[in-house]
Point group: C2
Chain length 165, copies 2
Amino acid sequence: MEHILPNLAKGRAPLEPEKLIRREPLEPGTFKRMIRKMGLKVTQQRLAILESLSAGRAHVTAQEVFETVNARYPEIGFATVYRFLRKMAEQKMVTEVRMGGLPARYELTPRRHHDHLTCKLCGQIVEFESPQIEALQEQVAKEHNFRLTHHVLELYGDCARCRTG
Amino acid sequence: MEHILPNLAKGRAPLEPEKLIRREPLEPGTFKRMIRKMGLKVTQQRLAILESLSAGRAHVTAQEVFETVNARYPEIGFATVYRFLRKMAEQKMVTEVRMGGLPARYELTPRRHHDHLTCKLCGQIVEFESPQIEALQEQVAKEHNFRLTHHVLELYGDCARCRTG
DNA sequence: CCCCTAATTGACACTCGTTCTCATTTATGA
DNA sequence: TCATAAATGAGAACGAGTGTCAATTAGGGG
Ligand SMILES: [Mn+2]
Ligand SMILES: [Mn+2]
Ligand SMILES: [Zn+2]
Ligand SMILES: [Zn+2]
């Protein structure tokens, strides 16, 4: 039984596409507003990147965004994708998710914070919220006189289907 | 006030060396036993790497290990350090700690599991244990029918000293 | 609506951490 | 002692991400 994570790193498709998390696509017009809110100019490239982030699966790599956008917009450069993703991450408009040494994955920052539970075998990502864990994190920080700014919590394991199948 | 993490990535020395976490050095002879337990051959290089990991500060990069070992053992190669660290990480003899996109840091796996609270400003790393958080993580995994194998929990913030001046 | 200008873009060279390759050396158990 | 598989060192290669720079473009002021 082979672990998928190293394969994902090499760009191979994940095994269970029907299980990939997707989001409701936003109505167009939202994108222009988002870009303007960041104090940036509205370009076709940026609109295409946002559209791709909004419509497709969550947790995509910069490469995947580039390929999606490139399909409809062949002259876009990948530096543009990286630059815009970085800028949006700085402004917390998108959230960077890193699993080990793998390429960063991005998702449009959801209204409610969540963390991730990832199956090492099939790559499936489950999102979860745990106010209790969040509260305990704050408590740990307070005990050490830190002002907490952010955290990374990633759980890894084997999902039910992979274990039994 | 400049953030140190990007600087650490470029090899600049951390600001508060007196605060770096160090461990008790192990008595020699332990190392040979550790290597044999992993089913590997005992070589001078591996002994030197283990000695460096055991004696110096915790949470070192492969680069730092290489430089330390290289000082006493100039003909050692880079690849040897990476290879051995990787093998030890696979066997959980060392633990890999990754902060964002920065180079991986390694520490000899301590008897008791802990997680990390890092100051974004001075790079100080505080280790903490929270059985409560660990238990809640298990519970989350169980709710989603995952068998938990490991997790990454890194807290980031500003330490008291950095905030006040 | 048209300019002007700063912002943005695309191509591609580059960095940097890490891994791979392969010819040579070495540890170890028979 | 020997045979052999494991380990090593040098350096090439890799892959994600960033920098450079000349060309293009968005969009506010006229
Ligand atoms: Mn998510
Ligand atoms: Mn530690
Ligand atoms: Zn699975
Ligand atoms: Zn600090």
